[in-house]
Amino acid sequence: MAEQDLSALILDPARQTAARAKLRDTVDAAPRTLTYKHWLAQLPAAQNRTALAVLSSLTTETLEPFLQLEGYLSGWRPQTTYVQYSSWQNALLVGQELERSEQAPAAVVVLLHDTELLGPACTGATAAEALAHLESLIGAFRQRAATPLFMGLVQPPLHAAGLSLGEALGKGRAWQRAEFARGVVQLCERFADMHLLPLGLSDQGQGSTEWFDAKGFLSTQSVLAHKALPAVARCIARYVACLLRPRRKVLVLDMDNTLWGGVVGEDGVHGLAVGQDYPGAAFVDFQRTALALRDSGVLLAAASKNNEADVMAVFAQRPEMLLKPEHFSALRVNWQDKASNIASMAEQLGLGLDSFVFADDSPIECALVREALPQVEVVELPKDIARYSEQLLRTQAFDVLKLTEEDRQRAGSYAAEAGRQQLRAEVTDLASFLAGCNLRLSIQAVTAQSLDRVHQLMGKTNQFNFTLARPSKEDLLAELQRAAGGGLYSATLSDRFGDYGLIGFVQLQAEARHLHISNLALSCRALGRGVEDALLAFARELAQAHGCTQLRVASVRGPRNQQVLAYLDGAGFERLADNERGVLFAMSLGDAVLPWPAHVNVEKQTALT
């Protein structure tokens, strides 16, 4: 792309996704100071900036132009405060250096020079002592602020870090610094929202110390060679970006010359390159990368201009293919343009186009999608097929700081939902649909293991939520230990298509002759399946077993939970009290009220805990 075209693209607010991708390529072709300074001057004025603090005993200000441009390339614009030299420890301990800036930082980056904390070889601190000191600094910071922390280790070559006495003398410098590095990783696990930055600034013992500037280190504490500045800035920008924008959720793949070498319509199923030997191995490697993304919660989809039968024959007759039809959450094999196919898959999956990434080897297809759907991030695969995976992972769209259980299960739950939708389309009435699902519900007392998920559910459920209380984990734990004459129960649902996981929570409290449902929440994914009826039947049964004659429910009015009141009216409750805050419902218990739904197979706790 010509320079003036790229300059124009950068200034077009509607084309920023494409502008970043093109500028990324341009910068990577010549990652030098002048390139960064040149393009920095062409960026549009920032609408808003994210405050960032970089703390280090070393000179880090030299990162500024690189961090500015890398920030833009990662979709954010930094406003950086550099706290350098001895003040970095104070900044963590008491924070004046951080509070001086106008805006509290959204993230704090610490570039940790291990030699500073370890001190001189032989007479300095042990790794354990240095780590204890670091832990006290972070502990002090964490008491004041929940700001995300990113730790990057800077480990200059041993000649600059002191003697390595070797293992023979026991716990020499090389051992101490390895121990220190391991300890920093453990600290990242111990403290909330603390992350390791893989800067690669360590002495590997085998040469690769090009990043280290010996003269700069001795003259100005400027340890980073200018060659290293782009990569360090890029790592920081990329990691901080994870805090600032949602992860993209879907990867749409082309097939011919993307998943296999060759064109199935011309070369035939057995003429395609895919398998152990190069070039087929390159395509298998790319498929492995796609599968790894799927395991991390990215949905896979495909858009291919082919006859569907040809493509299905590849899946059926080429066992070397790691990707199978069931790995795809949406598939479009037809002769329509890819942009329309991507739009229709977005509709099918119920996701916005800004959740999509499209990867294709054809520059023409890439350009068409870029033009028609500017929200979609396009990965143009390079000519060199050995670099497909590398190119795909250069996009930051799938970056994530921490994987949740939900991420790991996402692809499976979309597949289950597709099965349900198909059954729903095949049967004519809701009752036959529900009967055909083979629903299994398990209602059990909340345990220390299920508490985390209950806490998440209470925090996220807005629609079918009786009180809209948002208890903290500590609150729930206290309730769990306190519960007397009542209890906390969780509901887990599955059907023949898959697991819904833990989707419901109910809290019961016996008060003399009536049992109070103090709280009840049900995930919207499980609504309309009869689970709500089952939870009330459960409360009714326990109330009767406990000798209660009345069931009471308090429901709070909220912006999105109106359906709760309608549901309780419909279930046959009477309104005892009704005001603008909420309604108190009651029901006298008999055998005929609140029956178990026939289509749900329930496994349950049989007495109040």
Binding site: T33, K37, E64, P65, H226
Partner: protein, 82 residues
């Protein structure tokens, strides 16, 4: 690389790093006459010169490179020695 070419490339470096039009890069340009030429940009100037010309500047040269004219002299000498 002839003398004119060296001067043109060095001018482009100073103009980009200091954010000045090329015709403002004159031999007497210095930290005193240009507020953007601060200690940080001094580092970026040195880094860019090393990257663009493929040379290493001596520490003493880095310290005394306090005008465009002197920079041109240092770079030309360094290229001639290489």
């Amino acid at each position: 690389m002839n003398a004119t070419e060296v001067e043109q490339r060095l001018t482009a470096i100073f103009s980009t790093i200091l954010g000045l039009p090329a015709d403002a890069v004159l031999p007497q340009l210095s930290p005193e006459t240009c507020p953007k030429w601060d200690s940080l940009n001094q580092i970026h100037l040195i880094n860019s010169i090393e990257e663009e010309f493929g040379i290493q500047l001596e520490f003493e040269d880095q310290m005394r490179m306090l005008s465009f004219g002197v920079a041109l002299e240092i770079v030309s000498a360094s290229l001639a020695a290489a």
